[in-house]
Structures are given as C-alpha cells and as structure tokens.
Symmetry: C2
Subunit: 340 residues, 2 copies
C-alpha cells in the first residue's frame, strides 16, 4: 500500500488520499466490475421484477461490535451475514449491497484491510455484490475504530406468505443450532473479562437454512435471533400473536462452553446474540420434516424443535429441566453491549 | 416521550428501550405505513422495471457532520439531501431509503428527535420513503453524538446516457448556484472558530435542477460538488476525460460573506463543500438554454456558465480576474473535516 500504516483525517476529505484508500483497500478486495468508484449511484439488474412473481426487498443494519476481530469472524463478515440473514429470513435472495464505513483516525490500515477482505469473502460466498459505498473518517476519540452500515437488496417470491400473523396455536418452534455462541465469543475476545475460552462466533449466512425451510408449505415465520437473542424473538412473537410460547429448556441447544461462561458470569443464554441461527415457526405436521431438512443442511446439524405455540397468556415460558416454569420477560438492561 | 432525556446504552440492546426509541422517535416522525418496525426487510414497489425502460439505481452515504445542527440544516436533512442528490445527478428519481443511526450514549433525546423530524420533512419533500432502518448505541466517547448512513434506491430512464466518457472538447460547464455555502456555514457553527457570520448551508434536494437539465439532449454529465468541492469535481473530469477544464474566476458565483470568511481564514472556496448545487457539463450549443432553464428553477436563480472543456493538458485551470492562471490541484490536506 502506498499510504501510511494508519488512517488519517485526510483519508476522508474527498481528495487524493481518499481515492487511494478506496481504490487500494475497498475496490481491490471487493473486486467487482460493478463497483465503479467514480459513480454517484450504481445500477442494479432486477429484470423480471413485476410484483407478480418477485418482489424487491430492502434491509439495513449498522455494526459497532467491539473488538473488531473475534474468534469466528470480524465486523466485516458480520456485516455481510447480518444483512444477508435479514433478507434470507424474509424468504428473499440477497443480490446487491451498499457499504458505509465510518473509520476512526488512527485505525491501522492493516486491520481495515483484513476486515474488508473478510467482508468481500463473505459477500462472494453469499452471492451478493457490493455495488455502492461510502467512507468517512472521524477524528481520534470519536469512533471506536470502525463502524459499518450495510443495506441489502434482494428478491422474494411474491406468493410467499411469511409473517407472525400466520402463526397458529399448536405450531412448533425450531432453532437451527446452538444459541449464544456469538455473544460469548465476542465477550471473551474483550480482554477486560480476563477469561479464556474456545468459543467461536456462529456468524454465518443462513441462506441455505432459509431456503431449505421455504420448501415447507406450513412454514409460518423465520427470524434470526441477533440482539436480544432467542428470548427477544419469542417475546415479540407472543406480543404480535397474542399466543403463548412454551420453550423446553432441555431441548434448546446450548454449547457446554457457552453454558459454563454464562454460569460463571451470570448471563442468560436465552438473551445472547446469535449471528448464524434461524428460529422458525412451522405447522406441527411439518416440524419433524423441517428438523430433518435442517439437520441435512450446512449449519443445521444441531437443529432442534424447542417449543410450541399455545392458546394461553401471551408470554414466553421456559419449562425447566425440573418441570418448573420461568417466564422470560422482554429485555430491559443491556447485558452485553456492542456484540453486533 | 416516556424515556429519559438522554440516550442510554439500553436503547441499543434489542429490548424494550430500543423498541420505545424506535417507535417514539423514528417511526412516529417518519410516519410511513411502509415502515413496519417488526420486519427484517421491507418490500419496494418497483413495478414496471424491465431494464428496457427504467433501471433501478442504488447509492449510499455516511454522515458525520459536526455540529449536528447548523444554519440552514442538520445531519438529518443533510443525509436525505446528500443521498437524493447522488441519485438525481445520475438522472434517477429517488424512491426508497434505508436509514442507519449510530447514536452516542448521552445524546439528548430532544436533539435526536429534532434531527429525525427534519430528516422526515426532507424525505417527504423529496418524495422518498424511509422503508428500512437500524439503530445502534455506542458508549459515551465513541461516537460524536450521532452518525447517520443512508442508502437510496431510485429509477432512471434506461436510454439516458450520462457520464464523463461522453464529454467533448468545447462542452460548457455550469454550476447551479454559489459555491462553498455549506462548508462555511458548518465551519462557522463550530464555536472553536469564534467567528460570527450569517452564512446558511445550501443543503437542499437538487432533484428539480437535475430534472430540468435532463430535458437537454446535449447534457453530458452532472455531479453534486460535496466533499472536495467544485475543484475536486473538475479534477476528476480532467483525469477521466484526458481533457483540460478552464474555469473563469469571475464567472464562478461565490457569496460575498463566503468570500470574506475564506479570505480571513485562508480557505479556498473552490474546495469547499456544497450540498445543494449541481455541476453540469453540456454541449456548447445548449449551454445558454440550460442556464436559462436552471435560472427559472427553484434553487437555480444564481446559476452560471463557469468554464469550458479544452483539448489541452488534462488539468483544471482557473483563469483569474487579472488574466492570470492558477492550476487547481487534486486535494491532499483536509481543509475542513466533517462537513458532511
């Protein structure tokens, strides 16, 4: 690289340094013939869209995770997975991405480059193209190293009727894998906690899992349990449907290492973020078949049926191992800030 | 509002406080039936798009301006104008927006509300709908109050052939109004400079100006001169076309108040950001007609023909009042950081 080892304010000024930053880090790794850095706006090929067969969907996410790099991922791959997954759980195939980077003066350019490279790899794997971008540099002490914001555009079949409003009593609730890995991995990567552990973030595209689920006519709703975790998705479902949701503690997959850290530090895995899991609600008759389909899909080998919808008070109840009950309330305090 | 006067980390945790923040500040002012805050992704109606008549365009921008509010605008209206204008100068009609807010713990919620209200008003005026959003809260000392990132989607006529590659020797260069107002207005709003002035930002949608220009067959290229100002647009044109661009100092509109501040502080107005101006390159035969069309359009009454493309060394030359010449080089240092 022809520029300094650290990002300076001059890299955000619209002049030569900014052009070099964009060319040598962003455009180079996102090597995309569609990414013409001299354009104000980029074209998207959405041919065939007529609102009868395919509907264009848009979603957006900001990323402020600390540290920027953690076991199993970094802010770059996380930004792609977070945005891909929001489209995937709506039944949409992600196609185009925009990327905003707010860079703090002093960030090591090597770190920035690793993150952009990882972002580019995640985008390629998910089949999305970064077609628009912007960079800003903020003065030292104003930024936390790097913040990213991504917007994704995708297409979903017009006939697909997913939504909390379709959920019925008796429907079964599945999760595609162990919960809380991302939250704990990021937490352990913060040196402040002085705890070592081998937990990897689950950060990944859930597109294959979402596509597998869409084959089922009885699929009602999907959501990726990020900030606020499984419990927050559950509370939202109860609040939107007026139904109760009963989770079986023994059925919810939690890695032993995650469970141990939670016990040591007093975290509740039900509220910890995942970045590569799907929660699905499906008609009871198809729950077992969806479970098998997920277990045969990449990222789904530890999928489980974890609970069911009931005609009861609209609240999320955890049936504990010893046949007790615990109500999981909507999150108030922030147990673990900046995990995405 | 039921929540505290200041934003706290709990407003970013995915739980109740975050829901209240989104409902009471964002959703309320962006009162948009399309903004369903419980959705992971939102549908966009782009019916009729077939890549033969209209092409979907995407653009994105980050905003880190300091202070958040300044004479003539704030970070909210600026975010809308910046993104609308990137689409407008490509010949696209902006339709849908996504919005990311990265909020610093401790920001006054009244300030956030004013900014979101202003953003909503600017969006309504430009005819765009905010259909997707995300909020994050970062700890005190990590954020500069508020950063925004916006992505815009619009449609442009497929037959429209705008681009620097269409620029010919002899083409005329126009600007739609006085330059540098935004840069100076933001600078004066920073108390550190201890200078008072009555300069207002030019922050505005240039959609009417862009639409007026698109009526001309000889229109080659448009650009909004933001970071790096008029000189940066000029340098980029020279570099892309291999042609020279000669600007006439006496023809470039600069407000007296802006010129005075520049003289006092040693700024060069050619490098100062505008947020509501358009630079257009047009065939010589249509330059006068475009000038008249712009002068009859809102925001264009001080438009001017400011220079011409020449078969000469690929550089931007300013012909000074006293018949001298000054080469305007690509920007290196950052004269005025965080103006957008």
């Amino acid at each position: 690289m022809t520029f300094d080892r650290h990002i300076s304010l001059a890299h955000g000024n619209g002049g030569r340094f900014m052009r070099e930053l964009i060319t040598e880090i962003f455009a180079r790794h996102l090597d995309n013939p569609g990414l013409d850095v001299s354009l104000d706006a980029a074209p998207m090929d959405l041919s065939g869209v007529d609102n009868d067969s395919m509907i264009p969907m848009i979603t957006t996410d900001g990323f402020v995770v600390q540290p920027l790099e953690f076991p199993g991922g970094d802010i770059g791959s996380l930004a792609v997975h977070g945005t891909v997954n929001d489209l995937a759980v709506c039944g949409a195939k992600p196609l185009y991405f925009s990327l905003n980077a707010i860079i703090e003066e002093g960030l090591e350019s090597d770190c920035l480059e690793r993150v952009v490279k990882s972002l580019a790899a995640a985008a390629r794997e998910a089949g999305v193209r970064v077609v628009a971008g912007d960079t800003k540099v903020v003065p030292r002490g104003n930024g936390g190293g790097l913040y990213l914001a991504t917007t994704g555009v995708g297409l979903r079949p017009a006939g697909l009727m997913l939504g909390m409003h379709t959920i019925q009593p008796g429907d079964q609730v599945l999760v595609s894998g162990p919960i809380g890995d991302h939250g704990i991995a990021v937490m352990l990567a913060r040196e402040e906690f002085q705890i070592k552990g081998d937990v990897q973030s689950d950060s990944a595209s859930v597109l294959p899992l979402a596509e597998a689920a869409m084959a089922f006519e009885g699929l009602r709703f999907m959501r990726d349990p990020t900030r606020g975790g499984l419990a927050s998705v559950g509370c939202e479902i109860c609040s939107a449907t007026g139904l109760g949701l009963r989770l079986m503690e023994t059925a919810v997959p939690v890695r032993e290492s995650v469970g141990m850290v939670c016990e040591m530090l007093g975290y509740d895995p039900y509220y910890l973020a995942c970045e590569g899991r799907v929660v699905a609600v499906v008609a009871a008759a198809e729950a077992q078949a969806l479970l098998e389909a997920w277990r045969a899909t990449a990222g789904g080998n530890q999928a489980a049926i974890i609970g069911s919808m009931v005609s009861d008070k609209a609240r999320l109840v955890l049936e504990t191992e010893l046949a007790g009950e615990r109500v999981l309330e909507e999150l108030e305090d922030d147990p673990l800030p900046r995990i995405c």
